[in-house]
């Protein structure tokens, strides 16, 4: 069945049968909702002028208000508000022109004020949605419930001293966006893709750098299972999952764990769990009984956050091109398949790199050289695109030589390897090593004639079995040092061997 439009999942829509978890007692479906904490890209913190940069000496990025000093007051950072609005607009969400900050009260040494300033009842961003690929290749819409702004806490360091905990307040007060999805996700793949697409989106918008190693993005994943279309199960929340892969693993493990318990006649306890990246398992962090009473109430140090509609519209008008739009453009402008376009727009950096490689060159060759050859090499060597030894311009140079017939694909692979090795440009290597493709039919004919003379039995064989042509092409390429234009070689061989 082909889908003509993207179905919007209403809350608790039943999963597709192919997503059901088959088990001895019957089928189960997985219900997932996610809360993603994304650190807002900004120079300073949510309510102070201290630097929000990652790293720095412990306690070197701390204003008096971040340290909870007596009499210090929070003042909202307007740029952070703009970033949240931008993110909301990117998700097609409702921008709440009136929102409010509340205090979430609890004691911990890395929470200097004794409360976190957050938006509990009235978040800045309301409902929106994000398009996500499902495992069958179809696209689903995951609803966004809300986005609110809140302060990050500091960092407790427990392993520096056996008897003491050290506290670093550099992160204390940094702005976080908590992006809450609706429970519209029905599989591990959808969960992972949601996280991936969300990361791509905030990176496009430059509202969060998405650096998961630095904790800039982390997901709390809520998982429950039920019989297809049946009554909802009890959910467990898996805290602080920090990669796309781990999101998928956590959902799979947790769903199976819950199913096992239920099939053994047990019940699920509502609890907060941790995902162990080493074992791929989740384990109890705290149960519902340990839940804090956070005593939320409106922060009296701050006025309600009131946005000017014209200001919001101005941000909307200046939004950059977003992944969904860019994907459509890549398909039409470059003639790429939906799959290829999806891979390229998954990351703003990929897309920009691709556009430079493809500029004025064969778009499909550019795509395969980037996603197959370059990505293959990077994967094998554990590197990110940003660490690639071959830049977009250099790869474009190589693709250009292929596009205009200067070298063929086989030679190009050697050139590619030499580019990595030497850092030289493709044209320089081709020139230096004399790798230009031979289109001189005379020279190719001469080499074919010589081969036919020395291999009469193969000539006869080829006339019987046209598949032998491949062997002949290989021989000619070998004889010409790989530089012969394969199309011309094919043409001449066919004529001389009498194959049509």
């Amino acid at each position: 069945m082909t889908q003509t439009s993207v179905p919007a999942y209403t809350a608790f829509k039943t999963a597709r049968p192919d997503q059901w978890v088959k088990s001895v007692t019957g089928d189960w479906e997985i219900i997932v909702g996610m809360e993603v904490h994304a650190q807002v890209s900004a120079k300073s913190k949510l309510f102070s002028g201290a630097s929000a940069a990652y790293g720095g000496d412990p306690n070197s990025h701390v204003a008096m208000v971040d340290a909870g000093m007596p009499g210090m007051l929070p003042v909202i950072n307007k740029f952070v508000v703009e970033q949240a609005v931008k993110t909301g607009l990117g998700l097609g969400a409702k921008i709440n022109l009136w929102s409010r900050f509340d205090r979430k009260n609890y004691f911990y040494p890395d929470l200097p004020q004794g409360y976190q300033i957050s938006q509990y009842l009235y978040p800045i961003i309301g409902e929106g949605s994000l398009e996500v690929a499902s495992e069958d290749g179809s696209m689903i819409m995951v609803g966004i419930e809300r986005i609110h702004l809140e302060q990050d806490a500091g960092k407790s360091i427990h392993d520096l001293d056996p008897n003491s905990t050290y506290v670093d307040l550099n992160r204390s007060g940094c702005a976080l966006m908590e992006i809450v999805s609706k429970p519209d996700i029905r599989s591990a793949d959808e969960a992972a893709n949601y996280f991936k697409n969300l990361r791509a989106l905030v990176r496009y918008l430059e509202t969060c750098d998405g650096n998961m190693d630095e904790g800039s993005m982390r997901a709390d994943v809520n998982v429950s299972v039920r019989r297809p279309g049946g009554e909802l199960g009890t959910r467990c929340e898996i805290k602080n999952v920090n990669s796309t892969k781990f999101v998928g693993m956590a959902v799979n493990y947790e769903a199976r764990r819950q199913i096992e318990i239920l099939e053994d006649g047990g019940t699920i306890d509502q609890e907060t769990r941790l995902f162990d990246v080493k074992t791929g398992q989740t384990r109890t962090m705290r149960s519902k009984e340990d839940a804090h009473d956070y005593r939320y109430f409106p922060d009296p140090d701050l006025l309600p956050l009131i946005l000017d509609e014209a200001w919001v519209e101005n941000i909307r008008a200046n939004l950059p091109e977003l992944p969904a739009a860019m994907k459509a453009r890549f398909q039409s402008q470059y003639g790429l398949s939906a799959y290829d376009a999806d891979v390229l727009v998954a990351d703003k950096e990929f897309a920009a790199f691709y556009e430079e490689v493809a500029k004025g060159r064969d778009a499909k060759i550019a795509n395969s050289w980037m996603t197959v050859e370059l990505f293959g090499w990077l994967n094998k060597n554990g590197k990110e695109l940003s660490q690639s030894p071959i830049g977009a311009a250099a790869l474009g140079g190589l693709v250009g030589l292929i596009t205009d017939g200067t070298i063929n694909g086989k030679i190009a692979k050697d050139v590619f390897a030499k580019m990595i090795e030497t850092g030289d440009e493709a044209a320089v290597i081709v020139e230096r090593e004399g790798l230009k493709q031979t289109t001189d039919t005379g020279a190719i004919e001469a080499s074919i004639d010589a081969l036919m003379a020395t291999n009469p039995e193969k000539v006869a064989e080829a006339r019987e079995k046209p598949k032998m042509l491949g062997w002949w092409v290989g021989q000619v390429m070998k004889a010409t040092g790989g530089k012969a234009n394969p199309a011309i070689v094919n043409e001449i061989l066919k004529g001389k061997l009498g194959i049509d």
């Binding site: 909870g68 007051l73 004691f107 409360y115």
Partner: protein, 487 residues
């Protein structure tokens, strides 16, 4: 030459301007006065003598080059709730330990900008929670006033008891104070001084140790209305460091004093006649009404029907905010810390030892009213009451320009008299809390002495941001009352 401490603030400004004496001399006179009286009154927690004289000399130098500010050379006392850079700030609590902030409050910054001199830090109820200055971790302040023929020590009121006592006893020319439920006005009434709480947002809260953020407001305690106007004008002003600070122009309050009350409508709220109010308070109120009538004002009866809910609402909202504001005193980064066996034990021991009984009581009340299951019944309902009270005033302003009430339900009482009964103590705020809940400006001026020879105050409440009318009325009342008694 009269003793310099006999001059009030605006007279001292004239004397300094005329070159009759220097700020250094004036400051020294006050340091002597403090030296002579503080042991018995306990108004100052810290006397910053060296710093005061240094500031005074700098002030004299500025004046010498014709660069005098509005408070040039005037020695003031600072309530120890205002953070003062490099000077120990305690909020009269043990939990702050030896805390000396690295920053200065915006209000005191404004005063120093205008040339004022700091004499020291003034005692108060711990974290400004109290109405008698008895909850201070550093001992109570004693009111310089005594009942006629009695030696019983009286409270100066609270929480700004140190500020009020120091002004009344001429241990400074004026003092900063703060008012969350009446903490400026009630002590002013108990000590025969003038205290004003301006409109919420007029004075920056930056650098003031927070009690209840939505109610806290700074203001001066002074010897007379004009001194009060001069000080408040310096203290006020928009501050980007406080998000609730109002970005409005600072009015000329001294000029407003001369406007008179002719044709003005003064509201008399019937709900402020509370049960058990002494007859002389009622008589004083009637006297005040008569003075204003004589000066050409029209007296109108008004109703503020939700007044009776104000005190209970206040004692929910203020502790709720306090319970959260005081969470930062956890022994982790500054102040007193008592080591326990683990983190929770350290928290518990530090806070149990560091906070006094009244502060603990309010933290518990505040924690309770914000708890899941109680929030709607207490905090949310109190906020609704607050909205009704504001509405009461909004309705009243269609009938009158300002409201006249007594400041407190009694004169200063004896130390220890009410400290065992928090409810009795809380009743002191019955006439003052409404202005905090509604964010309105309100002043207390000394109006008469009671039968025991103790001062009594009258309160004038004005519209939001209309301090000018408050000062116009206060000035007329001050002239009529002609209050000149001294402790």
């Amino acid at each position: 030459m009269t003793k310099l401490t006999e001059l009030n603030l605006h007279q001292a400004l004239s004397g300094l301007a005329a070159g009759d004496f220097t700020s250094t001399e004036l400051t020294q006179s006050y340091l002597n006065s403090i030296e002579a009286q503080n042991a018995s009154l306990n108004a100052y927690l810290v006397v910053t003598g060296d710093k005061a004289l240094e500031m005074a000399r700098a002030s004299d130098a500025r004046r010498a080059v014709g660069n005098a500010g509005a408070l040039e050379g005037i020695p003031l006392g600072i309530k120890d709730l205002f953070c003062t850079k490099g000077v120990r700030t305690t909020a009269a609590s043990k939990i702050l330990g030896e805390f000396a902030p690295e920053y200065e409050s915006s209000v005191t910054t404004n005063l120093w900008r205008d040339g004022a001199v700091m004499l020291g830090k003034l005692n108060l109820d711990e974290f400004a929670m109290g109405s008698s200055n008895e909850t201070s971790a550093f001992g109570n302040v004693t009111n310089p006033w005594k009942r006629k023929g009695s030696n019983v020590a009286l409270t100066p009121g609270g929480s700004s008891g140190g500020s009020a006592a120091a002004v009344a006893a001429h241990m400074c020319l004026g003092a900063t104070a703060t008012d969350t439920g009446g903490s400026i006005r009630q002590p002013a009434a108990f000590t025969g001084t003038v205290g004003i709480k301006p409109t919420y947002g007029r004075c920056s809260r930056y650098g003031i140790v927070a009690f209840a953020s939505s109610l806290d407001q700074a203001g001066p305690i002074a010897r007379n209305v004009k001194d009060s106007a001069i000080m408040l004008q310096s203290m006020m002003g928009h501050d980007a460091k406080d998000s609730t600070s109002l970005n409005v122009a600072v009015p000329d309050l001294v000029a407003a004093m001369a406007k008179g009350v002719k044709g003005m409508k003064i509201g008399i709220p019937k709900e402020y006649r509370v049960d058990g109010m002494p007859e002389e308070i009622e008589n004083l109120w009637q006297q005040g009404i008569a003075w204003l009538k004589d000066a050409g004002a029209e007296i109108v009866d008004i109703s503020l029907p939700h007044t009776k809910y104000a005190l209970p609402a206040y004692y929910i909202v203020a502790p709720a905010e306090a319970s959260s504001n005081l969470a930062r005193y956890d022994g982790m980064r500054f102040g007193a810390r008592v080591e326990g066996v683990d983190l929770t034990d350290t928290y518990e021991k530090s806070r149990a030892t560091g906070f006094g009984e009244e502060v603990k009581r309010r933290i518990l009340i505040g924690t309770y009213v914000l708890s899941a299951g109680y929030y709607d019944a207490y905090y949310l309902r109190a906020q609704k009451v607050r909205a009704r009270i504001l509405e009461d005033f909004t309705n009243a302003w269609t009938k009158c320009d300002a409201i006249l009430t007594p400041t407190a339900p009694s004169a200063a009482f004896g130390l220890g008299e009410k400290s065992d009964d928090p409810i009795k103590m809380y009743l002191n705020d019955v006439f003052t809390v409404t202005a905090n809940l509604a964010g309105l400006p309100a002043i207390s001026i000394p109006a008469a002495l009671d039968v025991d020879g103790l001062p009594l105050g009258l309160q004038i409440i004005g519209k939001a941001l209309d301090e000018e009318t408050v000062y116009s009325v206060a000035s007329v009342m001050e002239q009529a009352a002609n209050f000149s008694a001294r402790p």
